[in-house]
Symmetry: C2
Subunit: 427 residues, 2 copies
């Protein structure tokens, strides 16, 4: 799982969407934000004309993905299709900006996205766009809109008023405003806080083999290092020799591991899932252990690892005739022992004879009747952003189907006892 997750080459970005009525000035706001000289400006190929995407490095905001959506008030069949895209954009956003011309506003078409943003824990804000006219009239209309939105969201939403036609002044106002919003986003911590701090040493087991990339570590490993170092935890990285550890003459390798663990006395041992068999067997019970996969699963569930635990429970109760949905974020080339189409189905059918397997690639799970399934198992999402992955998992969870990811499912099928142990530090 770790290997596949590590393929997500894209750097972490703050996702910011602009949502509102047609002609409210969303694109002007987008252009105001992007007008500055930037490191990277890119129209992601393959995005539909309705949601326009810019990937940028913005001063004071860092790497961003900006999503300029179609008007939520567009009617007809095409309008509905565009609304689906807008909803997708909101789901993958960290920050949702409602761009509003107070002279052209009705609560109804906005209601869904405001509620969605709230339910999914997005940081929302209103950008009032002043096109001109009397300030007095504008202020009155603006107050009406604020009240209407307050009634829908039932929580205060910060706002700013700009004149988007003036791109320079809009830029100067809006960047610090968005920077403030960004600070309110709460990324899920990589590990439970109790395991990190100046007096808590983290122990990372990073078994390297010829297939591991040379000259670097993979992303979950460097993420974990940086996370713990920021909390002033010393971090020990350790390369367990799995071949020796699984051989008949494993004693020197287990001795070496235990010597280091006992010397350091780590607050937590995090291992590559590959090595969980040895780590589980060799680590004395007083040392808590977990895996990089579990930490990634926690992030991908938006910090709700217990939801995935519920998915694992659902697996444990599978019986003949039950249906399992295997979901993959993309439709990549499948190699011989592909996890989703070969490994996982084979193991599931072996442990639970008579279960039926179904697959959903890309967004096709939206067409499935999810309540028909006993459990949905999702891939690691290595080719999509963290935000897109969280959105997909939340979609599944909201349908009521129990969900787990490949990593946890494989761990469960390999050793329920080991999985139970690596989940324990998160309880």
């Amino acid at each position: 799982m770790l290997r596949r997750f590590a393929k997500a080459a894209d750097i972490p970005r703050t996702h910011i969407s602009m949502v509102g009525f047609m002609n409210a000035g969303k694109s002007s706001i987008m252009n105001a934000i992007t007008q500055q000289p930037t490191s990277i400006v890119d129209d992601t190929p393959g995005t539909t004309a309705d949601t326009k995407i810019a990937l940028m490095e913005i001063h004071k905001l860092g790497p961003c993905k900006l999503l300029d959506t179609a008007g939520v008030d567009e009617s007809g069949k095409l309008g509905n299709k565009k609304l689906v895209k807008t909803i997708s954009a909101v789901k993958e956003s960290d920050v949702v900006l409602f761009v509003i011309d107070p002279f052209n506003f009705r609560p109804e078409p906005f209601k869904n996205v405001i509620e969605l943003a709230k339910r999914r824990g997005k940081v929302s804000a209103i950008i009032y766009n002043k096109f001109g006219g009397k300030t007095e009239d504008f202020n009155k209309k603006q107050a009406d809109v604020a009240n209407a939105i307050q009634r829908i969201s039932n929580q205060p939403i910060p706002s700013i008023t700009v004149s988007a036609i003036n791109q320079k002044s809009t830029y100067d106002q809006i960047i610090p405003f968005i920077a403030g919003l960004k600070k309110q986003t709460k990324p899920v911590p990589l590990l439970p806080p109790k395991f990190v701090g100046p007096d808590k040493t983290l122990f990372l087991n990073v078994p390297l083999d010829i297939e591991s990339p040379t000259g670097r570590l993979i992303r979950p490993q460097t993420m974990m290092l940086e996370f713990a170092l920021r909390k002033l935890s010393p971090v020990v990285a350790y390369n367990m020799n799995l071949k020796v550890g699984r051989s008949e003459n494993s004693k020197p390798e287990s001795d070496r591991y235990l010597k280091n663990v006992k010397l350091i006395g780590p607050s937590l041992i995090v291992t590559d899932s590959q090595a969980i068999d040895l780590i589980h067997k060799w680590t004395p019970p007083e040392f808590p252990i977990t895996t990089f996969s579990v930490a990634m699963a926690n992030i991908q569930s938006g910090g709700k690892l217990n939801e995935f635990t519920r998915g694992i429970e659902a697996i444990s109760k599978l019986k003949k005739g039950d249906k399992v949905l295997i979901c993959e974020a993309c439709n990549h080339d499948r190699i011989g022992d592909d996890i989703g189409t070969v490994q996982l189905p084979t193991k599931l059918k072996k442990v639970f004879p008579g279960v039926e397997i179904d697959w959903a690639f890309g967004r096709s799970y939206e067409d499935k009747k999810l309540t028909d399934y006993a459990v949905a198992l999702h891939c690691g999402g290595c080719m999509i952003s963290k935000q897109q992955m969280i959105a997909r998992i939340q979609d599944l969870l909201e349908s009521g189907v129990p969900v787990a990811n490949y990593g946890l499912a494989l761990s469960y099928l390999a050793s329920p006892a080991a999985l139970e142990r690596v989940l324990k530090p998160w309880q």
Copy 2:
């Protein structure tokens, strides 16, 4: 220095150049290598038509940069210009393939590149390209060429015979051949071997501040981690709080550092240069210390750190009227306290009144009379590949001018004693 070095976003690649006469089949060989489905194929923009470059991920070879050069036998003014480019390509190569049609070969135009490749420690090989004709004649001609090249190089050069017009069979033959050559390239180790191994724990000081990237470590840090882990060394990553360490109440921070160092008993402490003042002051003399900058300098000098030490000696002897050449690999946008144009000249002139500073950006050092300079100081080469950087440093060294890099020069100017200490582990 570290920050700038870390910007080199490109992944490490094996550089492979094809060199030979016009119409010897260099481009056919290039096409044979690149014909397979690949992850990335790219014509680097801005490269001149004479050397064609492909960046590829090749099965069994990994990430490569392929350089298809112009014929070394092209005459006239344009031919000479192209030869300069070919020589550049050879200088930045790890593997040089001499592509030869035995029926069209003269030793003379080849002599320079064969000698250059040998002098610069390149792995060289001959690809004999058989266009057709009688095998008997071919074998005789081939033997003549082999003898001629043997006389020039004075060392055995491995060879292979292909029929480049048949791309499939050429591919099947040449990839394992190049893979074998790649194994002969000897990358400079990141640290002296005596400091790494299963019983030797490395201690890396990685002070993080708000300017450090979030969610990852920078390249020299992950390179060092991976290098030591491969040798089965446990690696401790540690985040020293420099602000507290330099404050009046620094005791808790130095205590925390010493507690960890003494517990672990590292074979070597490697620190970000930023923290060298505290590490030098706090680390007991029994623990050897060095910096990431020194490790990078060692790589950039092709493993000849003592050459840079000679450059530092030259700095220490600077006197009024001496000329210092500051070399930068590229002509980037310069910000306020730019190292090459502001920081370094200011500090040099302060410590050595009356020295004269000159600059060479890009390849313009080739136009300078290098023997006029007391010392040349080169930037960290953050925007070019490791191989290009090594080639530039070797160019300077071959001219006889003492050379050092920015990192070592700044360390020397900040504290000669600290620099002496961090160079010691390399002696």
